[in-house]
């Protein structure tokens, strides 16, 4: 039967896309571990990893400083980039699916800003919520992001009733500008030291954070991932519009809340550990859709992988391009992402003209 043949072919194709994405991530991790100002042979890197993770010593002797560089500095940095990239891309894919808006992304709809405000508040006032300890930072960032999201939605509802694509982006910009001003105010009230720290943090970076930050993001990332990945069918159904989704049996209200919660968790936790890194959530899901088609069953996990790999490479570029100085990673993603965003906006307009 030809149709089943096509299906097998498609499932085979998608299988290879997964293999390729997995390979991309793994390659990015290794490349990033090896390539730096201090070059370390591949064999040594593999030894250090297997020694520390599995307890297998592959080689007799590796210099202790190499071990320190790989295990204490580079690996957490790479893993953090992986987690942040994966989280942001997944959140972006979810926002785009939920809002039926190809321009949505944690950064463009203001969630990142809200999360940043939450995080800045914690950093500036040295807050610790009782019982949360170091998790105060991501929790506050998540809450900040979620509140900003609700405010943006409220603004859109009042402004246009329908969740029009441009209106959401506009509301996101309004929210970002406002929160940016509030953050500036907080910074201006602080001393010189705090100012530099916060500004640099705001640019977005995954460097100099160590294992503690990896620990901060992982639990939230896992929960957010789980929430979103099990709701891929709801995201597909929402492509029909909320009313039609309801008619095929989707509990739209509950689905929306869970998806928004999951995406906010991912965004908030990412912002808390790495500052504002824009456009990852915008560009990656688009690239993935071009290859895999729009089915969220594949878009979500593939965005996860591609986003992780992408941010690792972006981080690699950010720390090597003007070595020994480092460029904030957010600069790299914005340099790539903003033109893509413009391109999408134009294509969206043109596409509308064609179909209308």
């Amino acid at each position: 039967m030809p149709s089943s043949f096509i299906r097998t072919f498609l499932s085979k194709r998608i299988f290879w896309v997964y293999v390729l994405s997995g390979g991309f991530v793994l390659g990015a991790v290794l490349l990033s571990l090896i390539w730096s100002s201090v070059s370390i042979p591949v064999g040594h890197v593999v030894h250090i990893l297997s020694d520390n993770v599995l307890g297998w010593s592959l080689m007799a002797e590796v210099p202790a400083n190499e071990e320190r560089i790989i295990w204490n500095i580079r690996l957490p940095r790479v893993l953090l980039a992986l987690c942040v990239g994966a989280s942001l891309a997944l959140a972006g894919a979810a926002f785009q699916g939920l809002l039926r808006n190809p321009l949505a992304d944690p950064y463009t709809i203001g969630v990142s800003s809200g999360a940043a405000l939450g995080a800045v508040t914690v950093i500036f006032f040295q807050l610790t919520i009782f019982g949360l300890g170091s998790f105060t930072l991501p929790v506050m960032a998540i809450i900040g992001g979620f509140l900003a999201l609700m405010l943006v939605f409220g603004l859109v509802k009042i402004a246009s009733r329908s969740l029009a694509i441009e209106t959401i982006i506009l509301a996101g910009i309004i929210m970002s500008s406002f929160i940016g001003a509030v953050i500036s105010l907080i910074i201006a009230l602080g001393d010189q030291d705090a100012m530099t720290q916060i500004i640099y943090w705001l640019y977005g970076s995954v460097g100099m954070r160590g294992w503690s930050h990896v620990q901060l993001i992982v639990p939230f990332m896992l929960i957010g991932m789980f929430l979103l990945l099990i709701h891929y069918r709801e995201l597909n159904a929402l492509a029909l519009g909320e009313e039609a989704a309801e008619h095929i049996g989707v509990n739209v209200q509950r689905g929306k809340i869970v998806i928004l919660l999951g995406a906010s968790l991912l965004t908030g936790a990412s912002v808390a550990v790495s500052g504002m890194i824009g456009f990852v959530g915008l560009v990656i899901p688009h690239l993935v859709r071009l290859i895999s088609g729009p089915n969220h069953r594949h878009v979500l996990p593939l965005s996860l992988l591609a986003g992780g790999g992408f941010l690792i490479l972006a981080d690699l570029v950010s720390r090597t391009i003007i070595a020994p100085k480092e460029l904030p990673i957010g600069v790299i993603t914005a340099l790539i992402g903003a033109p893509v965003f413009a391109l999408l906006l134009i294509r969206n307009r043109l596409g509308k003209g064609k179909t209308a």
Binding site: S3, I6, G97, R100, N101, P102, R233, N236, A237, A239, L240, G241, E243, A244, E246, H247, I248, G249, V250, N251, R289, G293, P294, N295, T355
Partner: protein, 490 residues
């Protein structure tokens, strides 16, 4: 199946829908009709649950609809609306697959073999299989609607709710879609509730209809309530004429645009031209006439401009007279779709054409007559040998305005006059030897200008009937005499 009690609701404070009550039987096709703004879509949304009801209750199989979970509802009720916007580049198959959402089980909720089979079946049935891997965005509006129908059918619903399902579709796709729904209704007992904006489509497909007017049902019942012209005028505020469908025992509605009086109405005598030669008598009117006829072409009740009486050889075999006559007309530059045609073997120069006025009614009568086949219709014996020259073709054109009933009256009047003429001329059925009532192949056509006061009567007790009767009597008498004269000469 579905019971709706005192349903009230709408937007804002003032409910659009007020106390609507009705019930749907299992397996029936229920059409919801009403003008724009009558609340059709609001009522629809109240039933689908897209809009919360302010009061009242909806039950399915006796249980309140609110008691069902969303998944249970989706396995029971499918909804098809007119919106056909899908974001992202989903393929047709992916869209149809969404219809199986409520059926997917297990941790990964992937499509089962059964799901796949249903999806394949409904795509085949709706004729969208060939677009399986095409992006939904790229197919035409009609195809999109069929894909969405396939998605709804993939839910294997017991009840289908449709909001103007054929809105963007052309005639072919509309009928295809409705035929399909009708088939599911018959085969699987599907209950259909549809908003239909086209009254004629509703009359053809619905078992029952409801007329919604200002938020409440004005009338509910079989499609025959659409025969109530005054009701429709009240609801739609246009002049509606209900007519039976020619092949299906259902009403069809004709809307009449607001009529403006014709400023320059021709005098009857100047409103037509007659052309005559050996092969054809052609009477052409400037404006179409309302006609009733049993001619070879242009039969039944019509609006026609051209009236033809063709001469044929007496050995004409008449294999396909309609086709032949259409060709003859086309050859003469007469548009066949605007013409009625008769044929006769009688010499056309023996035609009698008379225009007269009777009590203010102007009329024109054209008769050609031959009585070789004269028949007494009241005799039980039947002569199987036909083929001699002899048929009486009568056309009567009046400056009157007849209803359909009056046209039938006019036929009676003309026939009675013809029979009386034959009687007075002592024309006999050569087979039985009794007085003939006509010939075996007589044709009759009555045409009226419809430009004066309308009358429902044209029988023998009316001026119009008398006008027809006297004219036909005179013309038939004259034509038969000419025929007999020619017979005697030869």
């Amino acid at each position: 199946m579905i019971g709706i009690k005192n349903l009230t609701g709408g937007y804002g404070n003032k409910p659009v829908i007020q106390n609507v009550n009705f019930s749907l039987e299992k397996g029936e096709f229920f059409g919801l009709l009403g003008p724009n703004g009558s609340g059709k879509t609001t009522l629809f949304k109240l039933i689908t649950g897209a809009l919360p009801a302010a009061g009242g209750e909806i039950t399915v199989d006796g249980k309140p609809l609110s008691g069902f979970s969303k998944l249970e509802k989706a396995r029971m009720i499918a909804v098809l609306t007119q919106e056909a916007h899908v974001s992202f580049d989903f393929t047709v198959e992916e869209i149809v697959s969404l219809g199986r959402y409520a059926f997917q089980k297990g941790l990964f909720k992937s499509l089962s073999r059964q799901d796949r089979k249903v999806i394949d079946d409904v795509m085949e049935l709706t004729g969208v299989t060939k677009y399986r891997d095409t992006q939904f965005r790229l197919i035409s509006g009609g195809e999109k609607q069929r894909v969405l129908l396939a998605k709804a059918l993939a839910q294997e619903p017991k009840i289908m709710l449709l909001d103007e399902p054929t809105n963007h579709l052309d005639v072919k796709h509309s009928f295809h879609m409705l035929d399909l729904l009708k088939e599911w209704q018959r085969e699987y007992g599907l209950t259909v509730f549809a908003i239909l904006h086209d009254l004629n489509v509703a009359a053809l497909y619905a078992d029952r209809v409801a007329l919604l007017h200002e938020g409440s049902f004005l009338k509910t019942g079989g499609v025959d309530i659409l025969r109530d012209e005054s009701l429709l005028r009240q609801v739609y505020e246009v002049d509606v004429k209900s007519q039976p469908h020619p092949y299906v025992p259902k009403p069809q509605l004709l809307m009449t645009p607001e009529e403006k009086a014709d400023p320059q109405k021709d005098h009857f005598s100047r409103s037509y031209r007659v052309r005559q030669n050996e092969g054809l008598i052609h009477i052409e009117f400037n404006d179409p006439l309302r006609t009733i006829s049993n001619g070879v072409t242009g039969e039944g009740i019509q609006w026609l401009n051209h009236f033809c009486n063709f001469h044929v050889n007496k050995n004409y075999d008449g294999g396909d007279p309609v086709d032949d006559m259409t060709n003859w007309m086309a050859n003469q530059g007469i548009p066949p779709e605007k013409a009625a045609g008769m044929m006769t073997a009688v010499k056309l120069e023996d035609m009698v054409l008379l225009e007269k006025e009777y009590e203010g009614i102007r009329l024109l009568a054209m008769v050609t007559a031959g009585v070789g086949n004269a028949v007494d219709i009241t005799s039980e014996e039947l002569d199987s040998e036909i083929g001699k020259i002899g048929t009486i073709n009568i056309m009567v054109f009046l400056d009157s305005h007849f209803t359909d009933g009056a046209l039938v009256n006019a036929c009676l009047s003309a026939t009675e006059a013809k029979t009386k003429a034959l009687q007075d001329l002592n024309i006999k059925d050569p087979y039985t030897g009794t007085i003939a009532t006509g010939t075996s192949t007589d044709s009759l056509l009555i045409g009226t200008t419809q430009k004066v006061e309308r009358t429902p009567y044209a029988g023998s007790g009316t001026v119009a009937g008398k006008a027809i009767g006297t004219a036909v009597y005179d013309a038939v008498t004259g034509a038969v005499r000419k025929y007999e004269k020619r017979q005697r000469r030869s």
